[in-house]
């Protein structure tokens, strides 16, 4: 009888015990997957899709741009670089405001710049007219339950949602309105917090950035960033959270190994004589060890087969009402096939390590000791 057949026969012999072992290990697999999925959701968000070589100019002395104001000279300095280097220069109005009891980014830019410089693509409805109309990011539509026709109170004024848009980066959870509407609503002062500079095709972003940074209207007063760099710089809090999630997920995976250790250790404690008899009947120590390791791996595989659907079902249940949003970041847990494969490998490894530790004693004990027990 091979170690594999022996392991299968053993697991089938006492099904209740097998089920209990599998249930115990499945529990931690579910938790490891949930925490891992949360870490992955944050990690995916932090790996912001590239917005090309777009540059932004802002006041570097403010952590939140809402309080800053860029004078028109900054825009003119960017435009002065010419069409060979810069294809479009776009002012962006930026505020973090409570809208209908949610903290959201309210942005405004000239309508002509939305598709190009601001990377917005219409997902549903239509772009807003100048006046009391806005569009919202798909993330915000999901999280807040706002739809076409919803009325948002922005700065004390009712504004109607006419469409939803899709956008990379944090703007996906923003409210956008035409710059003219923002001027009417917020007044003509402090209308530009960020200037977006779209680098011309074929032009070198680094050169444009250096030229802008050296401009007398900008140097020493404002800073030039790649848009991606700036977004990543402001996600420090999320990185802290991400680290905590990784720690939690790692601990849960450690618990898989512990579950494997417990399953093997209890098995050895329950059947010391049977293990010794196996060796007496011609099984080598290596074969008995292989049988025990295979047995544990099978338990882990069974637990994984139960744990993954359970975790997926849990994730689906959590998002029955849409993803959770933390500071406008969507925490949407998904059982991505690649991550499931990684978890499968880590589970197998963890179970192997746990079983190896518990069976190490078997390698040291003699047959006589086993029989005596």
């Amino acid at each position: 009888m091979t170690p594999l057949r022996l392991a299968l026969a053993d697991l089938g012999f006492d099904r209740l015990r097998t089920m209990l072992s599998i249930a115990g290990m499945a529990s931690v697999i579910v938790c490891a997957m949930l925490l891992g999925a949360m870490a992955a959701a944050l990690s995916d968000f932090l790996a912001v899709p590239s917005t090309g070589s777009n540059l932004i100019i802002l006041d570097g002395n403010y952590v939140d741009p809402s309080d800053s104001t860029l004078p028109d000279e900054v825009m003119r300095a960017a435009e002065a670089l010419g069409p060979q280097l810069v294809s479009r220069v776009s002012p962006l109005f930026f505020r973090q405001l409570r809208v209908n009891d949610r903290l959201v980014q309210v942005r405004a830019a000239p309508l002509a710049d939305w598709a190009g410089a601001q990377h917005l693509s219409l997902q549903s409805g239509r772009w807003p007219n100048i006046g009391n109309e806005v569009v919202i990011g798909e993330g915000l539509a999901d999280s807040a339950g706002w739809n076409l026709g919803s009325v948002l109170i922005i700065y004390g004024r009712p504004m109607t949602v006419t469409g939803t848009f899709r956008s990379p980066g944090v703007a996906f959870a923003a409210v956008y309105m035409p710059l003219e509407s923002a001027r009417d609503l917020f007044g003509p002062d402090r209308l530009t917090q960020i200037v977006t500079v779209q680098v011309a095709l074929g032009a070198d972003g680094e050169t444009v950035s250096a030229r802008l940074a050296a401009d007398p209207e900008i140097a020493g007063r404002f800073v030039v960033f790649y848009e991606d760099t700036y977004t990543r710089r402001n996600t420090e809090l999320l990185r802290d959270l991400l680290n905590l999630m990784y720690v939690g997920s790692g601990l849960a995976l450690l618990a898989v190994g512990m579950g494997a250790y417990m399953a093997s250790a209890l098995h050895l404690a329950e059947r010391p004589r049977e293990s010794a008899l196996l060796r007496l009947s011609g099984f080598s120590v290596a074969q008995v060890s292989a049988y025990l390791l295979l047995r544990t791996e099978m338990l882990a595989a069974g637990a994984f087969c139960i744990g993954v659907p359970l975790a997926s079902a849990w994730m689906s249940a959590l998002y029955a009402d849409g993803p959770a949003y933390v500071f406008n970041v969507p925490i949407r847990l998904t059982a991505d096939p690649n991550r499931v494969a990684i978890f499968a490998a880590l589970t197998a490894l963890s179970a192997f390590a746990g079983a190896l530790v518990s069976t190490a004693g078997l390698l040291r004990a003699s047959v006589a000791q086993g029989l005596r027990s």
């Binding site: 529990s27 309080d67 405001l97 903290l103 917020f186 417990m262 959770a324």
Partner: protein, 365 residues
């Protein structure tokens, strides 16, 4: 009873590694509960400090007590017309080149800020109207983070200020640098603009009222409360994961104790023979479950303290640390007790209901 408990613990100690692994397994949900509770405690105590006796007039919808509100000083005339004789102006801003180097700046009226803010002075003296420019009093957390000392300099937005006092409020203000309103306006280039006006509640303006010029009134501390709301979905999510981990830990404990009990069924049968009641055997198992839970609790506190100390959540000049308070401790102890008892009850009931003949016969089955 006591001897039954002692025998139970002795039986458990015969499998020391199993005990340790079981305890670590049980410690995981408890540690999660401690971390979640600890971070939430610090966040709520620092940020959720609404003072309903004061109103803040700010840009509508903004987080004026942190950033994002900039209103003209002429607003004071509007408020006087509404019956407020002495509105107190403040500036709130987050300054710094990066989130890591950010400082929460508060511009105050040196002659009147003590009317609306209470604090405990740790070192030095309060800021007063006669102070020269570039004097600041800073919160204890900011002093600690920046290694700032009394009489020494601290950089705020690239300028050097002299620390005249270090205060503590137990709120987010402990991360702030307070400077005179004039210094703050100069520093930010705001001319005579301010962030907010503070007025007493109970007057003609009510919380939620919209005022001309895009202004609105909120309770003092509303910005902090709104910020804590943004965190709630995360804590709810983590709480549900920790809860599930707890349930499964109890199941794993139950399965393991059940198998240990099965292993020792003949010994337990012998205990019944020598006069132990079925209830004593149940206590025997419960003692094992509670011992695992007790060890798990110790491990959870040690683990959570280590992780909490190493992993403060920080952004834009503020930190959220893990703070363990009595309520969290009580909750975690209750969870530990719950897991210990829930993990013991099935094997204990099974054992108590098992006839003596079944226990003894099983050895030869």
């Amino acid at each position: 009873m006591r001897s039954a408990m002692r025998l139970g613990l002795q039986a458990l100690l015969q499998h020391p590694w199993l005990l340790i692994v079981l305890a670590i397994n049980t410690a995981l949900p408890l540690m999660c509960a401690l971390l979640i509770g600890g971070y939430q405690t610090d966040m709520l105590s620092r940020y959720d400090t609404v003072n309903p006796s004061l109103l803040v007039i700010q840009e509508s919808g903004s987080m004026g007590e942190f950033y994002g509100s900039r209103i003209p000083s002429a607003t004071v005339e509007l408020l006087r017309a509404r019956g407020y004789a002495h509105p107190i102006p403040e500036i709130h801003n987050v300054t710094g080149a990066t989130p890591a180097s950010a400082v929460l700046l508060r511009g105050i009226d040196p002659a009147r800020y003590q009317e609306i803010e209470t604090f405990r002075l740790l070192y030095g003296r309060p800021l007063n109207a006669n102070d020269p420019p570039r004097a600041t009093m800073i919160g204890s957390q900011l002093a600690r983070n920046r290694d700032a000392v009394l009489g020494g300099p601290i950089q705020i937005r690239g300028r050097e200020f002299i620390v005249v006092g270090v205060f503590e409020t137990g709120t987010v203000s402990d991360f702030e640098a307070w400077v005179s309103l004039r210094d703050a306006q100069d520093l930010l280039g705001w001319d005579d603009a301010v962030s907010i006006f503070v007025v007493p509640a109970g007057g003609s303006v009510k919380p939620g009222d919209e005022l001309p010029g895009g202004l609105s009134a909120v309770e003092r501390g509303a910005s902090g409360r709104n910020l804590t709301r943004e965190w709630r979905p995360l804590f709810d999510l983590l709480g549900s994961i920790a809860g599930s981990l707890g349930i499964w830990s109890a199941l794993a404990l139950s399965a393991t104790l059940g198998r240990l009990t099965w292993l020792r069924r003949r010994d337990l049968g012998v205990m019944r023979v020598v006069g132990y009641e079925p209830a004593a055997l149940a206590i025997h198992v419960c003692a094992q479950g509670l011992a695992v839970a007790a060890l798990a609790t110790l491990l959870a506190f040690a683990g959570a303290s280590a992780i909490g100390a190493a992993s403060p959540l920080q952004t834009s000049g503020v930190q959220v640390r893990m703070v363990i308070e009595a309520r969290t401790v009580a909750f975690v102890l209750a969870c530990a007790l719950g897991i210990g008892l829930a993990g013991s009850v099935v094997p204990a009931v099974w054992l108590a209901r098992m006839p003596l003949s079944g226990l003894v016969r099983a050895e030869w089955a």
